[in-house]
Symmetry: C2
Subunit: 111 residues, 2 copies
Amino acid sequence: MESSFAIIAEPNRRAILSLLAVSEQSVGEIERRLRMPQTSVSKHLRVLRNAGFVESRVDAQRRLYRLRPEPLQEVDAWLAQFRRFWSTHVDALERHLDRIAEREPKKGKVR
Amino acid sequence: MESSFAIIAEPNRRAILSLLAVSEQSVGEIERRLRMPQTSVSKHLRVLRNAGFVESRVDAQRRLYRLRPEPLQEVDAWLAQFRRFWSTHVDALERHLDRIAEREPKKGKVR
DNA sequence: AGCGTATATGCTCATCAGGTCATATGAACG
DNA sequence: CGTTCATATGACCTGATGAGCATATACGCT
């Protein structure tokens, strides 16, 4: 389970991360909110901790988990190479639509 | 193989996507550039096409593959919920360091 | 038609990850 | 100190998936 991408491939882990994005949570809280067996929550948290996505803090018998930003930033960095492509793609689409609009001004459907 | 996240969990598929981010490529070109067996490239491309990451165009015996933006944008949208957290986290860290610096000016270790 | 090139598909195998159940650890509190 | 609450860990099973190999399809050229 090396890459950060593999970690967030799992839907339950994404749900946990989304929860933690709001605020620090205990295992029990996650368990209740996601209606997921405690043992499963603990295992996913372990994976997330090993991969650096979360860190835990002890509060009596509870462990409070909070997010750590680095791995998600890594994913974000990988996505960056495609952002350039998105805009040019959108531009191309717009130009395409413009061409159609110029060539076929028959239908007056344009508001 | 539902989610876009599962698709990009595979390293070879990420490599293919990165290649296509530069420009349209044929299967053979991908095969050579990534030094990956053709049959494997074709299979990954199939997965990518089914998930909407790429589309193909026919050029004689070749198939030219190009990127499609939507699924990656979906991933980007999911990441958005954490961006807020990144900045506040950096701020918190800075405030924390500031507090330490003010409270413990004993050790002259600070440059 | 026949051959070479380019790509796709089907099959088998091995691996791995997640769910579940049982159980262990560990702290709080009477 | 024994019980209860909160969390972690280990074992087993099962399903999914990627690699590799063989083969199929399809186009172009002579």
